[in-house]
């Protein structure tokens, strides 16, 4: 036990003192915020671009329908010949030319768009809708239907979702749950890959440095492996804690800027919030506040530890089986695969149906459960499902660590031998 503590201490310090670790811990939140800002800025830049689209309308019906918008300006070229109009659009580098043939009423497919490059989907949809609306109106009038009456008769429904404990929720809140669950699941995957890789690199380092035999003459290989896994996980928890604290500071600051005092807001005090802020923002804030943030953070840690132990034991065994990082490729794919599967399963099936059988099954299978379950947690998961999922994860951990330790024990003392799967299987029996 004393040695395990020493190893954990050394491994932890080796990770935390690493320059990359320090930089990543404090820089990546900045990079993240910066990236969002950049995306927002770029999409603003993109939409401020002015486009001119020429209109060649043989029916003379549509010129008034195409109204200039902030980004698109329509230019009626129907006065010219079609060839002239085309030439002009090309020479002036307009965005494109809409051609509406005379017999449009009977042949809706005759509308054409000419342009240097194929136009964006949004632009095309807008043009199609404008023409279709006009034609529909024409049809309605011809059939003697009053357009105003029709518009008045249209109704709109917004379902208000409410759970049994009476909390109000909305479609928006489902997106927020998905966002937080998805972010947590994705972060967990990144953590597992990053910290698993750290463990693997550190095993390879000890092998290539040839210090390994000096150490295993003092401690059992399993002690070294577990010390490494534990020490590195503490570094991960340190990083996560720093990020949660930074996010907390950021959240409180932004709430303060929005004019909401986070410390006085209670779940039932929606009205207070509504009085202060705009209703939509208030609802958004309430949705975020109503999220099980605490249990999300706690289960993030539980699943991080469980999932990380599972995978980093495998990473450690891989590190022991190879002589250099370049040899790890053949073993990496089977490790990454279940993680990827978890992410995709999460994004596709949890959005669709957070409590459906696929989501439930994948949140039980230990290789994917840390990711999928985290995505489900914001939607509310019964405690017994959590218990089964965590229980299975723990049991699998024991099995995998036991197998990994066997490979590790043999692998660390093998030099210059490129291990195959067959070889690894043999090591299990040594």
């Amino acid at each position: 036990m004393r040695n395990l503590k020493l190893i954990i201490q050394r491994e932890y310090l080796a990770r935390v003192r690493n320059k990359t670790f320090i930089i990543m811990t404090f820089l990546s939140p900045l990079i993240l915020v910066g990236m969002f800002a950049l995306i927002a800025y770029l999409s603003m830049l993109n939409s401020s671009e002015q486009r001119i689209i020429g209109l060649y309308d043989e029916t003379k019906m549509f010129a008034s329908e195409f109204k200039d918008q902030e980004q698109v300006q329509y230019l009626d070229l129907s006065g010219k010949t079609f060839e002239e109009a085309k030439k002009m659009v090309n020479e002036q580098e307009y965005y494109g030319l809409i051609y509406i043939p005379e017999n449009i009423n009977w042949d809706v497919e005759g509308v054409q768009f000419f342009g240097k490059e194929s136009p964006g989907l949004g632009t095309i949809q807008a043009i199609e809708k404008t023409i279709a609306d006009r034609l529909t109106r024409q049809e309605l009038i011809e059939r003697g239907i009053d357009v105003n009456q029709l518009n008045e008769a249209k109704t709109e429904v917004r379902i208000e979702i409410q759970n049994f404990s009476g909390e109000r929720t909305s479609k928006m809140s489902n997106y927020i749950k998905m966002f937080f669950g998805g972010a947590a699941g994705y972060l967990l995957m990144m953590f597992i890959i990053i910290y698993g890789n750290m463990v693997m690199r550190s095993v390879i380092e000890e092998k290539t440095n040839r210090i390994i035999e000096i150490i295993v003459s003092s401690v059992k290989p399993i002690q070294l492996m577990m010390g490494k896994v534990l020490g590195t996980s503490l570094a991960g928890i340190t990083q996560f804690t720093i990020w949660v604290l930074l996010a907390g500071v950021l959240a409180i600051t932004s709430f303060y800027v929005l004019g909401i005092d986070i410390f006085t807001v209670q779940k039932s005090q929606l009205e207070t919030v509504e009085q202060i802020a705009q209703p939509e923002i208030a609802q958004l804030v309430m949705d975020v506040i109503n999220l099980p943030i605490l249990s999300l953070v706690i289960f993030f840690l539980i699943y991080f530890i469980g999932g990380y132990f599972l995978y980093s034991a495998i990473y450690a065994a891989i590190g022991a089986a190879v002589d250099s990082e370049t040899d790890t490729q053949q073993f990496m794919f089977p490790v990454i695969l279940p993680l990827m599967l978890g992410i995709y399963m999460g994004f596709f099936s949890v959005i669709e149906n957070p409590h459906g059988s696929i989501s439930t099954i994948f949140s039980m299978i230990p290789l994917t459960s840390p990711i999928v379950m985290l995505m489900r947690i914001p939607f509310g998961v019964p405690w017994w499902e959590l218990a089964i999922s965590v229980g299975l994860l723990i049991i699998t951990n024991f099995g995998v660590i036991w197998l990994a330790a066997k490979i590790y024990r043999v692998g660390i003392l093998m030099y210059g031998k490129k291990a195959s799967y067959k070889e690894l299987f043999k090591w299990l029996k040594y």
Partner: protein, 309 residues
């Protein structure tokens, strides 16, 4: 003679490959024991078994008469052949860590490290990183770490590989000094001259089998062939040579001499003594040189290995 370490009937297999086949060795307390063998003979596997890094398939190792126990690690110091240190850790920090893994307290480890750093004249290295040191310098640190916890049994696997002659000499003297202080030393090598110089006992392992072991002087005695190297001066060397050839097995040899000698090795017949040879030669020539030919460990090694190939 009391043995500090006894390994009895050790078997070890890796898959279909037999690394050790019924190997037994006994290391007397306070001796220097040389484990010899060509590369791949199984020396390192045996050392790993003694260090409890690998478990034998069959057989038992005893330390001080008791079966080896995990906590005996504290009584053994091991300098493996494949040795290195953490590149990015500082020398002092690293030495402290490794010493504490051997069971020393922090204060104790620090005190002893300071003693050894001074003794090997490397006081200024404490805060250096290993990557700033040369290979020989790093090996000094490894040596210190091996002996720091004052183990009863010291195991060196190819201790002199990678050392320059000055440092090799320094380490050799330290090993002898440790022996004086009561340590028992096991070292494995394929460099015969170091066995010749240092070892009291030896064992020879070849292709997973132990071919021979015992006291170095006794092995040499067993391997000597009753042969003498002589330098003779006579009036007619050719006549003398022919005369000798009839009575003994004669071989060629060379040694430094200021005289115009007939240089020969003479192997005596069974039961004959060197005195009888001298008696015989005295009447025939002037004897300038007369030495018993003692086989070197290298000769014994080559002879045994080729015999068993």
């Amino acid at each position: 003679m009391e043995n500090l370490l006894v390994a009895e009937n050790i078997y070890k297999q890796f898959g279909n490959f037999t690394a050790l086949n019924n190997v037994s060795i006994a290391i007397p307390r306070g001796s220097i024991f040389g484990l010899l063998g060509p590369n791949g003979a199984g020396k390192t596997t045996l050392l790993r078994i003694i260090n409890q890094i690998t478990m034998p398939d069959k057989g038992q190792v005893y330390l001080d008469g008791k079966p080896l126990h995990p906590k005996d690690i504290a009584h053994i110091g091991y300098l493996p052949e494949e040795r290195g240190l953490y590149k990015s850790m500082r020398v002092g920090e690293q030495a402290l860590y490794l010493a504490r893994l051997k069971g020393l307290s922090k204060a104790e480890a620090k005190e002893r490290l300071e003693y050894w750093f001074e003794r090997l004249q490397i006081e200024g290295w404490w805060d250096k990183k290993i990557q700033e040191l040369s290979k020989g310098m790093a090996q000094k640190i490894q040596f210190i770490i091996t002996v720091l916890h004052r183990p009863k049994l010291l195991i060196f696997d190819e201790p002199f590989s990678g050392f320059d002659p000055v440092n090799a000499g320094l380490i050799k003297n330290e090993i002898l000094q440790l022996k004086e202080e009561g340590a028992t030393i096991l070292f494995s090598t394929h460099r015969m001259e170091s066995v010749e110089e240092l070892c009291d006992y030896m064992a020879l392992i070849h292709q997973s089998n132990k071919l021979l072991d015992g006291k170095v002087s006794e092995i040499k005695r067993a391997y000597k062939s009753n042969t003498y190297e002589v330098g003779l001066e006579s009036e007619n060397n050719t006549v003398l040579l022919n005369e000798l050839k009839e009575k003994f097995v004669i071989g060629n040899t060379n040694f430094k001499s200021i005289n115009d000698d007939l240089k020969l090795t003479i192997q005596l017949n069974n039961g004959e003594t060197p005195n009888q040879l001298l008696d015989y030669l005295i009447g025939k020539a002037r004897i300038n040189h007369f030495v018993e030919v003692i086989p070197s460990v290298n000769d014994i090694f080559i002879k045994t290995v080729t015999q068993n190939a």
